[in-house]
Amino acid sequence: MQFGLRWLGGAVIVLFLVGCGESGSTLTVTGSSTIAPLMAELAEHYETETGIQVDVQSGGSGRGMGDVRQGLADLGMVSRALKADEQDLDGHLIGRDGIAIIVHRDNPVRALNDDQVRAIYTGKMQRWDAGSTEGRPIIVVHKAQGRSTQELFLAHFQLEDSQVQPDRVIGENQQGIKAVAGDPFAIGYVSIGTAIYEADNGTAIRLLPLEGKPASLAVLAQGDYPLARELNLVTHGEMSQPVADFLAFVTRTDMADVYHDYYFLPAAE
């Protein structure tokens, strides 16, 4: 038992030593789970270059704004434009994304117009073969409350959450992708960047065009895609120098590749 204790003590000490490293100042960024992976990677690059650590936590756009207001975070990630009653915050555009409607790759449907999407999500249209009562059912995948992706989707199609009849409710983008990829009858909506990434990597989904405009980065860059959204970093009050430096960093032109990695558009494009 004594011997075991010594081993344990040694292991604990080694563990702590291995973990301890340089400690500079730290920035905290919280908010949208769509932006979080991108931000985490940008933070890695930032730390390599300047030695300043940036902590990235997800929790949703709403949480990002709340934390920044309360001083719990230095920057908030918000995956939409700021509303009229959120003007106490300063929004800094860092990129663009959109929301794409996705179906399973084997689904023969090539396009849906807005009315059809509305009908599907409110349960008025229940089968893929219009007008039939048998045949392939439409499995509606919807995002959980509070996510800005959900809010934007509902706003665009002029729906209230209570009108939606989902068959499946998911939390994060990846769960939505997996839900649709695993189900030939499913339809869902996720961030375009995530969807294109997955589709390019062989996941069994297809993005549908919206109002005739294909869901691609080119269309998004031209500003033609109907369900585009801003990716913002928000601050509250006066910006400290470290925060300003970080903001400048994430919008630097040589960081554009990181955005492209996630299939988002950096603000400059």
Binding site: G62, G66, A144, Q145, R147, D167, V169, K178, D183, F185
Partner: protein, 284 residues
Amino acid sequence: MITTSSLPLSDRLLTLVLRLCGVLAALVLGGIVVVLLVQALPFLINEGAGIWQSTWQPGQGEYGMAPMIAGSLFVSVLALVLAAPVAVLLAAWLRYFAPRLRRPVLAGVELMAGIPSVVYGLWGMLVLVPWINQWVPPGASWLAGSLVLGLMIVPLALLVTDAALGQLPLRYQRAGEALALSRVGMLRRVLLPRAAPGIVGGVVLQFGRALGETMAVLMVCGNVVQWPDSVFAPVRTLTANIALEMAYATGDHRVALFASGLLLIAVTGLLLMASWRLRGVSHG
């Protein structure tokens, strides 16, 4: 006679520390309930009755938890119904029909008991749900949740049954053999009924754990807030709801989630007391 005052200082200190530790455990339980209550009380007073409604739309101030309470209960009950017979019968089989298999299988089962729920959930999401979907869409459903939960319950229920059977005096088995009863008959009429209190008590405890499970049900149940109209319908449990919405909830919404946490404690507490009764344990 040794009185307290004649004990050395180290002993008196020790007694004090131990008493504190003992109190600490009670404090923790009380603390949890108090902290949650403090958060949830204003909400409960104002909107308490609203909890029993069927509409969960926090954006519009509706906090009806009834479908989710049902979701939690239904998923757990079905999981238990599926898992308990399998676990009990398998444990009995291992002891009386295949004793040579018992040790290796129990070893495997212990390992199963240690696999994190995230892993079960992942498997459920990637394999089980699409498979169910081929029979009855959407796949992510009450049934999927119960199957995954059932798989998670079986190991511990099996171990508990094995322990209960192990406690039976050997003479029961000997008497059965002397009377030339078939093993099935012996189990059915003597061994299992005798071990029943321990088994049932342990199994009820597993029900409590099933109610408390979060990650696996989050990934496979579909998370739609509704009263299910069949086992293939998606449901949302109270636990999955907290996990899904906690990070994004503010104000009343968040407080409602704390209230649902209290509800969970209350229900598991009741189940626990039922299990004590069944096992014949007295806890005052």
